[in-house]
Amino acid sequence: MSRARRGRSRRHVFSTIAHRLAVVAVLCYLVFPVFWMLVTSLLPASDLLRLDPDVAFSKMNLSTYGQLLTDPSFLLPLRNSALVASVTALSSVILGSLAAYGIARFRFPGRRAVMIMMLGGQMVPAVVLVIPLFLILRDVGLLDTVEGLMVTYVGFIMPIVVWMLVGFFEGVPVSLERAARIDGCSRIGVLVRVIAPISGTALVAAVIFAFISAWSDLFIALVLTAGNSITLPVEVANFEGLFVMQYRSAAAAGIITLVPVLLLAAVFQKWIVAGLTEGVVKG
């Protein structure tokens, strides 16, 4: 091996090591808080809130989870969150996909304006909108209701879903729809029999995105809900009392909030990445 090549391969080894170290550093930064939250939820606070925390495996137990998952005042926000996030995700994607299909396929005046307005809306910080939203929901009697929260979330999330799906639908060749029309489909038939089946991956990705967005929101829910309709993130925040901080319960509730998100990401990761449209046309 020549000296130059050895030099290059040594550089290659160094850059690989540096790269791996950077990945490990970033992973620690991201994962350690979750790990510590898990540990906190499993151990008595008295063992952790010391200068020399005692992380003993033998002392770990799931008692806090048991308490939380049988406590009606915790189950209510859990149920609310599940309901709000599911309905929000499905509504955003059903409405958003129809809108996106229309925008992708038909050339109408104001098409660009609609797209830009939807994007523009995303640029307004939630902080600016939340007080007007509070007043509007109060006036229509939807304050502190799950319905009010759903409507609000759909308003925030659907535009992003539309943007995601317009790009996808524009990539579906028009000839596919024309072939289906000639084969005997109506316009709606084309949507149901051809476009929907090949859009599976994109729609699933959009549903998961919408679900996670609604599920993990704290700020809007904090302002718009109080008693009956509070969601999990709000409940987690509530563990921080005026005089006491229930670290262990807060950590367990945090983990419970995190689990669905992780599960969704793990289960559907392949789905989201796989390109079903491969082979639609020449290629």
């Binding site: 060749p173 000839s175 596919l176 024309r178 072939a179 289906a180 029309r181 000639i182 084969d183 005997g184 489909c185 109506s186 038939g189 051809v194 089946p197 090949i198 079903l276 449209t277 491969e278 082979g279 639609v280 046309v281 020449k282």
Partner: protein
């Protein structure tokens, strides 16, 4: 079955008129090609016949029945797309059966027809595969199969060969012709490739700018082009076209040269003359009516050799049989004894013999 008539059809997209007052008749069982450069409106014409676009004015009839207001599936026609347009989520069988299923054909009947089509097209081993697992040629055959199982009275083809490689294209072209002879269904075929048009068609419609330039058999289009555009578009290599001065003696003199070619009497003045490269000769000996020239370029093609000969200020393309030993700079005599001279009216823009 399958008489098609377009009468005074126009199509506008906003202010842009893509098809201008197009009238065209296609007899039952005929294979007609719409030929023209890109943007000439040939695909739009096909879409209008299929019902994928609505006509702006004019009528379209199939077997004497007005169809321009019918949806595509009620016009009894099949469409083969340039990009195949196979349904990616269905198997080959599913793709071919889809049109029949939409028409509520009995299951057993679907099975029989799809399998028969698959055998005819050599697809019986891939019926369970998805389109993405097939080669380009196989995909195009699935697209063909999807059309033939429905037994429509009209087939519409939109540049179906343009995505295939050269070898596959020739093979599929022959297959298409054989299929047409077997099925006998009316076919309308869109292409910008004059060779495809010549080999496949009973009649060719040459379009330019949404306007029909000429409609006739391949022999007519090649032998009697109606105008300079058709003459230049059909034939390979391209026809040589020059400004000429036609004298009362019935001879056309190519502007800027001493080359004169006998043409039919009764015409005179400044015109355009077309000479097909394959009808010209180039030899080392002078003959009557020949003119001296210098070889500027030699392009061997195997069975033939194309040479470019400079005669004064003009270049003349000549197609010679076999391999030629001529080199660049060789002198020789160009003769047009075997050539049929095509004369066209000069349009206002051409320069003439100034």
């Amino acid at each position: 079955m399958g008489d098609i008539e377009l009468r005074n059809v126009s199509k506008r997209f906003g202010k842009l008129e893509v098809i201008r007052d197009l009238s065209l008749q296609v007899a039952s069982g005929e294979f007609v090609t719409l030929l023209g450069p890109s943007g000439c409106g040939k695909t739009t014409t096909l879409n209008l016949i299929a019902g994928l676009e609505d006509v702006s004015s004019g009528t379209i009839t199939v077997d004497g029945r007005r169809v321009e207001d019918l949806p595509p599936d009620r016009r009894d026609l099949a469409f083969v797309f340039q990009d195949y347009a196979l349904y990616p989520h269905m198997t080959v069988f599913g793709n071919m059966a889809f049109g029949l299923r939409m028409r509520h054909t009995a299951k057993a009947e679907i099975d029989v027809r799809v399998r028969a089509a698959a055998v005819r097209l050599g697809l019986e081993d891939v019926l369970d595969r998805r389109p993405r697992e097939l080669s380009g040629g196989q995909r195009q055959r699935v697209a063909l199969g999807r059309s033939i199982v429905r037994r429509p009275s009209v087939f519409l083809y939109d540049e179906p060969l343009s995505n295939l490689d050269a070898l596959m294209r020739d093979q599929t072209r022959s297959e298409l012709k054989r299929l047409h002879i077997e099925l006998g269904a009316t076919s309308i075929y869109v292409t910008h490739d004059q060779e495809e048009a010549m080999t496949l068609s009973d009649r060719i419609a040459v379009l330019r700018g949404g306007h029909l330039e000429q409609y006739g058999s391949p022999r007519d289009i090649y032998g009697r082009p109606a105008n300079e555009f058709v003459a230049g578009f059909v034939g390979k290599p391209r026809m040589n076209l020059y400004d000429v001065e036609v004298g009362p003696n019935g001879r056309a003199v190519v502007c800027g040269t001493v080359w004169s070619i006998p043409v039919s009497v009764g015409l005179s003045g400044r015109m355009r003359l077309g000479l097909r490269p394959e009808e010209l000769g180039f030899s080392s000996e002078e003959s009557s009516g020949s003119v001296q020239g210098t070889v500027r370029l030699v392009e061997p093609g195997g069975g033939t050799t194309d040479i470019t000969v400079a005669v004064g200020p003009i270049d003349v393309m000549v197609r010679l049989p076999g391999f030629s030993n001529l080199g660049i700079g060789a002198q020789g005599w160009l003769d047009a004894r075997r050539a049929y001279p095509h004369l066209f009216e000069r349009d206002g823009a051409s320069a003439g013999c100034e």
